[in-house]
Symmetry: C2
Subunit: 123 residues, 2 copies
Amino acid sequence: MPTDQLSKTFAALADPTRREILARLSSGAASVSEIAEPFDMTMPAISKHLKVLEKAGLVIRGKAAQWRPRKLNAEPMKGVSEWLENYRQHWEDRLDRFDAFLTDLQPDKYDDAGSTKKKEAKP
Amino acid sequence: MPTDQLSKTFAALADPTRREILARLSSGAASVSEIAEPFDMTMPAISKHLKVLEKAGLVIRGKAAQWRPRKLNAEPMKGVSEWLENYRQHWEDRLDRFDAFLTDLQPDKYDDAGSTKKKEAKP
DNA sequence: CGGTTATATAACTATATAGTTACATGCATG
DNA sequence: CATGCATGTAACTATATAGTTATATAACCG
């Protein structure tokens, strides 16, 4: 279980329930009961999901009477977004083709690694 | 273990070793041995990491003689990027303040959920 | 063919995760 | 101060993950 911030953030986001919780919180703070309401799951289960989100810094716990309202803190997502930018060119069409062009320039020893283009049979 | 694409992608990215592998592959395809070289880890361990990346669709396995070169496929990251966009406003300063402004407009029952601002004591 | 190289798989261990039920704590209020 | 609501924690189960060593497969090369 890696403990660096980026890994914790990715791990926290790797669950649909937790992503739904974040979506709920993106429109405002909510109590634990309110958060739990849409889910077919016991409160302790939700409580655990919230703890994961808190440890990743994606959610902040407040205090109001007997409530412990949770609030979204999207800041860690910034790190994810920045990390992703290193790869944007790889999934954007225009540059994908440019990448393919470069790859084709240097007939690499691994030019068959999942390429869609068929390799010429040796004559 | 959630099986939806987004969860698999996030989970695959939640490990520094796997992210390093992707970084390596971002500069071109590589054999498994080449991928494993920088790591203080046995080959089967790397092999397992590669399988996780493949199942998430982030890596494609090729075939060349006795090599099974891996190639980056960043396409699933597009989904991550798009999902993240829903939250960008929350981490960008300008809109964070706008959000705080809106929150302050409607004195919410949960307005103390981790807010930095002190609530007025009831007179 | 037989050895070497590259990679994959099996079997095992340790730890983490996601859920459960049962119980404990804390605060507000009649 | 006793009761009830909101939440948290403990203890337990089942499954998944990350690593190991040992073994298997597969292709090339002399």
